[in-house]
């Protein structure tokens, strides 16, 4: 099992080191050939406009779409969620494989970035998951067949799953809690 972490920009190193701590092989992916040998893909947090532009410039959009369509697990955290969503508002979408409508910078600017504990039934029994939201996007609406995994207490959707696709508007890679990484890897088990 080998997981690629898209390493164009953002917090890719944290995902790689979390996976390695879990005993999973992981490598940084910057070019299409880096995706070819991967069983799954994580698109990390960072700036989605930057990641989207670099992905286009080096012809990564189509290979990522192929991985998603082939049923390989693909997970987007924060910016990665924007990269995977079919609808990101006024701008054209990037990989556009997941039936969610995402609103960028939904909670405001950096001074509004926050931490909160989330109940995530899919992770099993408590404790809650301590989630870190950095200039985070939210999921405005979901299509049919999407499983909502976590909501803030005002009902805002912040994590969802559609078959092999997983998105979170927060950053499990910035914590020491591997439960979301395990949920992602469960697709390969």
């Amino acid at each position: 099992m080998n997981i690629a972490v898209l390493a164009l920009q953002g917090a890719f190193r944290e995902h790689v080191s979390m996976l390695k701590q879990m005993g999973v092989e992981a490598h940084e992916a910057r070019l299409p050939e880096d995706l070819a040998r991967a069983d799954g893909l994580i698109i990390p947090g960072g700036e989605s406009t930057t990641i989207g532009k670099l992905a286009r410039a080096y012809n990564l959009i189509e290979p990522i779409r192929q991985m998603a369509r082939a049923g390989k697990p693909v997970w987007g955290t924060c910016a990665g969620m924007i990269v995977l969503a079919k609808d990101i508002g006024p701008e054209p979408p990037h990989v556009a494989v997941m039936d969610v409508k995402v609103q960028r910078n939904a909670f405001g600017r950096q001074v509004d970035s926050f931490e909160a504990d989330l109940d995530v039934p899919a992770l099993g029994p408590p404790p809650p998951f301590h989630a870190i939201f950095i200039r985070a996007p939210l999921i405005e609406s979901v299509g049919a067949g999407i499983e909502v995994l976590a909501q803030l207490d005002d009902g805002t959707i912040v994590a969802a799953r559609q078959g092999n696709l997983l998105v979170t508007s927060f950053h499990p890679e910035l914590t020491r809690d591997p439960r979301f990484h395990r949920l992602f890897l469960d697709r390969l088990a």
Partner: protein, 303 residues
């Protein structure tokens, strides 16, 4: 803030984790100096992961002289409205009211910067007082850890801003990383003396000695003018780069900006760096940092 119909805890904002967290998201990226909304859009279009709003780029500050201060808030707000990427802005060293103003405007990061004329020649801003995160410059590990001790959530080398000469950024990055490597070989009882020698807070120095890492993200700044300069700094071990005058003082800013972004991502791939470096037009003319008289050296500001 929000409480709890389904058992979740309230949100906490302005924490150390979210301050450091934004810098984590900027890693592997290029932060570009811009002076207006139009330049900010060019930077965003080129793939910048953030922009730094300022009144004059360092090369102009150097040329024109006078007192360099925080930008006009109107300009900063214009830039914030023009782009969706994070917007940083500079305050003078020790000028905590400029910092308060920038926080009130809602900028995403404050750079307490030696590029502006210092407002205090002994004390920096107490950055723990703020919800907005701060980035500060450093020339060595002691200076980096003093700033982190004051609450900086991100560090950058100072380099020598406005020169287009990368030599000082290299010197500062090598100093920081070299001192970190040296710490690894010290015995625990030698750390206090080293803390004294470097002028670093003991607890932070101990943390770096044990973990082998800085507790915050570390970018390069000051003199980066070409894609190869950016990749050089990345290969030396920084997490990302700031480009100041290097872009908008060159002959084709949009193209050069994009090329520097590409070289920063593919910093270990000389083939790509060669490709993106072709036909970029004239880089900024620059001044050799070595020829700048001591009183004109921006890097010497900061204590």
């Amino acid at each position: 803030m929000s409480n709890s119909s389904n058992g979740s805890l309230p949100k906490s904002t302005g924490t150390w984790t979210v301050k450091v967290g934004l810098a984590q998201m900027l890693k592997g990226g290029v932060i570009m100096d811009v002076t207006n909304a139009e330049q900010a859009k060019i930077a965003e279009e080129a793939g910048a992961c953030a922009v730094m709003a300022l009144e004059r780029v360092p090369a102009d500050i150097r040329k024109q002289g006078g007192v360099a201060r925080m930008s006009d808030p109107e300009k900063i707000v214009e830039i914030m409205a023009a782009v969706s990427i994070p917007v940083m802005a500079k305050c003078r060293i020790g000028h905590f009211v400029e910092a308060q103003v920038l926080e009130a405007l809602g900028v995403d990061y404050v750079d307490e910067s030696e590029v502006l004329t210092p407002a205090d020649e002994e004390n920096h801003v107490n950055k723990h007082d703020f919800k907005v995160p701060f980035v500060c410059g450093c020339r060595n590990l002691g200076e980096a850890l003093r700033r982190i001790g004051e609450g900086a959530a991100m560090i950058r080398t100072k380099g020598e801003a406005g020169t287009g000469d990368v030599v000082e950024a290299v010197r500062h990055a090598r100093a920081v990383f070299g001192e970190m490597r040296r710490l690894k070989n010290l015995r625990p009882e030698e750390l206090m003396h080293t803390a004294k020698e470097l002028g670093a807070p003991y607890e932070l120095l101990k943390q770096v000695a044990e973990s082998g890492q800085l507790p915050v993200v570390n970018f390069a700044a000051g003199g980066i003018a070409t894609p190869a300069d950016a990749a050089l700094m990345m290969q030396l071990g920084v997490d990302g780069v700031f480009v100041g005058s290097g872009i908008f003082k060159s002959s084709d800013p949009a193209r050069r900006a994009k090329a520097i972004v590409m070289a920063t991502t593919h910093y270990h791939n000389p083939g790509i760096i060669a490709e993106v470096s072709k036909g970029l037009g004239e880089p900024m003319l620059g001044i050799a940092a070595r020829t700048i008289a001591a009183p004109e050296q921006l890097a010497a500001r900061g204590w």
